[in-house]
Symmetry: D2
Subunit: 442 residues, 4 copies
């Protein structure tokens, strides 16, 4: 396989062969993702919400007829027709059964995909009830040490690659939110972490074991939950060492998506914010898990961070000092996977006159998450082939609590994230960056 020279600074391997996508956690999100890709390939649905499939990037100047090719025309991404799906779950239902149980997609659609979905069955999961108290599973690996579990996962990965004749793999965590864990000594270095694996350190949660297994083998890894997982120095270092791109954490879907759209807008106009109250009702497995305060803590920390960085109260004390931010999640079974996020924002304008914004987002958890799984998988694979490793900050766009380069604060403003993503694609594709000055064409 020869490198294709696309510009002065970067060359990208072609997207040849089959890409295997491995999913720890094969519930609502994973089944919606897999069934969706199958449906798209069958021509009976569209991958709406997926930038990698539907997005375009402007190349060159803003002429009277600007050039806006599809992303797939700018960079060499994997074709959807050439994917394999696998993963692990604590229940042994195949993907058809799991999708029916998740009750996200219409049964008529699922029935059309029954054959291929039924063929995909989860491998036994690495799971520990201490990290997710509300769940119990039976389809679980048993080993004496966490290192042994990691090795079992690596064996699974190897076998999956061979069995499915994959050229390359990526892994995207689609499992539940674990209890809150703060970064500690065991997370600092690769050595400490590997020692912890062998000694069953309680600070090492299952999602870290998956991340370790993937990164160790050079498989790009993305983390869709607010768990630390790969967001610890030990695994960031390992990723650089094994030349593996990683991205975390927490899919940016409903309410936080809206927040990182709206907050930059208010900031742009120098409108002051006095308070932001966000509440959610949802009735799926995620809602149930988050009903436990220890697990909610993890999610809360992930959700609370975004406004602080966007508003910069230190730089703008008259506008954002002491703004009150509260986030609540309520388990509310009548809705199932159909989440509702309600926000009230108290703002002030000219001379401090108060105003209010209320947003009610009637959304669908897994429908919003599925295309993110796809894009992270596709773009991490692209990163890998482009020789980029470690934290892929340009994928912050998809994440509630993005990992940032050491010493830098994460960027949450979705439009800066998009700008970074697009310019990264231009950069990989060998095109000029865009800065929107526009003095040149006048």
């Amino acid at each position: 396989m020869s490198k294709q020279q696309v510009n002065n600074s970067i060359s990208v391997d072609p997207a040849s062969g089959k890409l295997g996508i491995l999913l720890p956690g094969m519930g609502a999100v994973a089944t919606t993702f897999i069934a969706g890709v199958l449906a798209v390939n069958k021509g009976i649905a569209q991958p709406i919400g997926s930038l990698s499939q539907m997005g375009r990037v402007r190349i060159g100047k803003r002429t009277t007829k600007p050039n806006k090719p599809l992303i797939s025309e700018v960079v060499p991404i994997q074709n959807l027709k050439n994917l394999a799906f696998g993963g692990w779950d604590i229940f042994k239902d195949n993907m058809y059964e799991a999708a029916v149980h998740a009750n996200v997609l219409d049964i008529n659609l699922l029935n059309k995909l029954k054959a291929p979905l039924s063929k995909i069955t989860p491998m036994k999961a690495v799971f520990d009830k201490n990290y997710v108290k509300k769940l119990s599973g039976t389809h679980v690996k048993k080993s004496k040490t966490k290192m042994a579990l990691a090795k079992a996962l690596m064996a699974d990965i190897k076998k999956f690659k061979t069995d499915n004749k994959c050229s390359r793999l990526v892994m995207v965590w689609c499992g539940s939110t674990e209890i809150y864990i703060e970064e500690g000594k065991v997370h600092k270095t690769i050595e400490a972490f590997e020692k912890g694996l062998k000694e069953n350190d309680p600070q090492i949660a299952p999602s870290m074991i998956y991340a370790y297994a993937a990164i160790k083998m050079g498989v790009p890894y993305a983390n869709g939950a607010p768990n630390l997982s790969c967001d610890i120095p030990a695994l960031v270092d390992l990723a650089k060492k094994t030349q593996t791109p990683i991205a975390g954490k927490d899919f940016k879907t409903g309410q936080t998506l809206m927040k990182t759209i709206l907050a930059p807008g208010l900031k742009a106009r120098a409108l002051a914010v006095n308070g932001w109250f966000s509440t959610n009702i949802l009735g799926n497995r995620d809602g149930e898990v988050l009903d436990d305060p220890d697990n909610f803590k993890t999610k809360e920390v992930s959700k609370l961070g975004v406004l602080e960085e966007i508003f910069e109260p230190d730089l703008y004390p008259e506008l954002y000092k002491d703004f009150y931010h509260k986030v609540r999640i309520n388990y509310y079974p009548p809705r199932g996977d159909n989440k509702e996020g309600w926000d009230n924002i108290d703002i002030s304008g000219w001379l401090n006159y108060p105003m209010q914004i209320k947003i009610d987002f009637l959304c669908r958890d897994s429908i919003l998450a599925a295309p993110i799984v796809l894009d992270l998988a596709i773009f991490l694979d692209l990163s890998k082939r482009a020789g980029m490793s470690g934290i892929q900050e340009w994928l912050s766009f998809y994440l509630k609590s993005p990992q940032a380069p050491k010493g830098r604060q994460a960027i949450h403003d979705i439009f800066k994230q998009l700008h970074k993503l697009e310019n990264t694609l231009r950069y990989i594709g060998g095109h000029d960056l865009i800065h929107h000055l526009g003095q040149d064409y006048e």
Copy 2:
């Protein structure tokens, strides 16, 4: 006065002397603006919502301690302490009386500013009931031709400048929405337009006469209403000829502000939009004027345009083709100036599953408009001193229906507009542009 060399390409005159701000239409918006600036200067209020006063721009790389000076530290803008205010209105109330009548600001605040507000009285307006049927005024100029009216305005401007010892002037239209007029022959060239002024062409509305008077004299002109005003080829050409910067049209305040924040967010994520329904209730003079279908038409056209450009249905037919966009404005007296905008957005995600977003914006019309008046005045004056003339597209950020360079479509995405505004400030200030790639610091 010597040009200050700030970078290779551009030099800016210093902001010395007094700047006079002239306002055609001295009602709710104008009084809120003037009273606000007086209150800020007195130290009893803050110019929230004004980027020129409170905003910062990042200069240089995203280091661990990024440099984000105030805009006034990046470019030489006029100091608020050195302004003079004047204008025209169809009622002869002074600014204290007009502000009390507008009922936007608290009476306690107005009473603290009674002396300076009372001193500002409007000049007689150029007004014609045929263009705003719901209003009648007595404080109105009488002349046989529209050209004579334009000359009377020019005499007013000259006198105001002398009387108030101003070094420079800017004009910002704060008057009502006029009836819908489409661009016609009389608007095509300077010659045709001046002929039309002399022959009282009905296609020349009062707001065009003000724009003509200002631009003819080299006074920068901004248009806060959806009227064509300076958005016609004749006046754009005149602006280039007299080296006058101009910006229009229609202050981007409540609902459209929200729309151009949210729509780019949905587009960014490749979420499909099936329908967008926007309704407004408001009870001020603006609401009353827009209760007339002819005047509403002008506003409707201004408001409807934004989504089309942001969503690009031609490029993204699967996502945005045939989305249904409806905008309604309802005169509802119980609220006065306190507008409420309610939006329902029907979107689709992965595999076309439908979701809904509802936004309720309890806003204040004049409170949102006042800082825009200030910023347009401050930045147009900066443009003038920087030798920039014609359409100032970098001020699109403030406008619902921005004028664009010939042959280009206006940009409505507020984040692209902001990016352009910030990079223009960096450019004027002689700093590197920012493109958010961020590969360099890794």
Copy 3:
């Protein structure tokens, strides 16, 4: 058939034999109603929203174990298993085709009812485009005079009764809203009206011809649209003469239902109302018809009336004088039959401090209307058998703009309407009325 003596004052014929329900207008509402009854009879759905099927009435004192039998145990109502359905429409689709086209009910449900639904086909309608400009139909009766059309309808009714072996009939108007017509001379007396029928008086709309045909034959008639129809003195008199119970007008479904629930609550607490703004978005045939101002006028008058009567501004000037009431309906195709009603209510409390209530009702037009069709049919038939004729004010509960006895104002408060309905059922059933004093059991 012998009268059954149930109390001192009233005797009720038994509900023996088959009841035929005739529906002018067999679109979304009618098909949802018929398919629903068939589904209920098949045991695959429940008649939710139908008081006659699911409601209970307290009989006797509020003891520690109060007696609350089903309505069917209190009064002898027709059994759902013994109904026949028929009607008229301007399209000749059978009920299966029409239901599929209306897109209200799930296709899986409709397919289970395909056989019986397909058997029901509409008779040719009496229709005149002048009264509903947005519709055109081909399945239409042609006659020289309106009287001839009335006679043709009477022949249809007779034939339907024989063909379907019905013991009794009722008719419920489920057609569109006609243009606004005010009560005039031709509506005053039976003589004038019959003369008008013969002379094709333009003040006689199709819905009046149906009402005339039904009432003339002694068939109870209810009117689900805001058209005058049977709400004219001529037809009220005819109803008394032919001993026919009637009820009109305009099914009380979404927003007005909420309004007549909430307004009595605010009134109960002596909270002042300054303004009530109501807007609707809907995309079905009804929405399309109401996009025409002439037809909207009819609906607007029906919708605006309710608050005036509930709030009694003459008696409570400090609370309700000059409250501003505005109702808007917007045709918005993306939603189809799934209507959304948004209300903003500006209220004042203690010392006139302002507060706001916003209600967003995501409802379904035909789903809310269908059980009303059922209840009106069932209860009008009960009235007929109980010897009650003329305006059945106790059915106001179901109607936006109820007909009231001459000289009385209609009651809109849904709780007074319910109280009246329940006490009427107690009265027909021969039980004590309830007044909620409750001093007796202490």
Copy 4:
């Protein structure tokens, strides 16, 4: 003072002399109430929200011109001009200071009432931090036993009556919510309760000591918080013994008010309810107290009860079985006393098709509570003069969790409550009850 014979069954003492209103807890609600009555008496404000002052009751038949006199014309109620105000608080601020601090009423209004408000100062409170952890006060009585505290209160009451030359007194609890206490042995009998007072039983909370003091002295007592207070058998018995009317518990103001308006409306129409989610944001002292889970528990129990009784899931299993009801209260300082209640209600209609209702109530806590304080005081005094004692169920109208006669379930439907209140007034006034049958005038 001679009894006035008003009808066969009941006689009412006249409302002569001065009525003293005693308020345990003189914070936001109490000051808003007192300042409001003073403003009303001064003619500068209106007692909106008070039925006793602004309400009317229909007397007699629904003729073409129905007779609807003011409540004060139907029963002899105390005149507002002849009231005295007093109470107890844990802070010694006078009513002007306390009102300024509460920040509910406009400072301009308060300044007009400064003299009379400043004269009213609280007596030292009975307070125990164990029952309200978030508060600390210094203006507190110290005694060895709870019985001694009760006696100190009785001495206060006696002194207040003499000092203010009152003919009669009433007491209305306006203090905070105490921690959750379940009815226990000590609450069962007067003897057990008085023994508990002497032995400092921890199950006796301060609000019970106030209630005991009042009832023991024959002073009518109402309870505006969800604390048990007088809702225990011992005090109910004592009330009958001392011929004292009582009413509790928990003022029905914002969200629960809306709930008991809307739920009966849904029930009336046999619409099914699958879930009801209610959340509140408020930033006043009440919000702070309820941020403690022990105190929230008390409020939650009070708020959750209402739907169960209205919907009767046992009688209507198809409609209301297993509906999910969740209530949340969030302390959110940016709003102060201006509460916001947001509800989402998931309902089903015909054939179980789902619909949603969302209600956003931007209300004001103390503004809604103040007129309830007034009405409870006025009507309890009326009850006392009418010889009615024990639980006044007809005042349930004002209460979230009304006390009901032994063995009966409380009624929560606000329209049944209103009907009961109105018929009680008719009964006291010697008029016919109304049952809304309406057959008689046809």
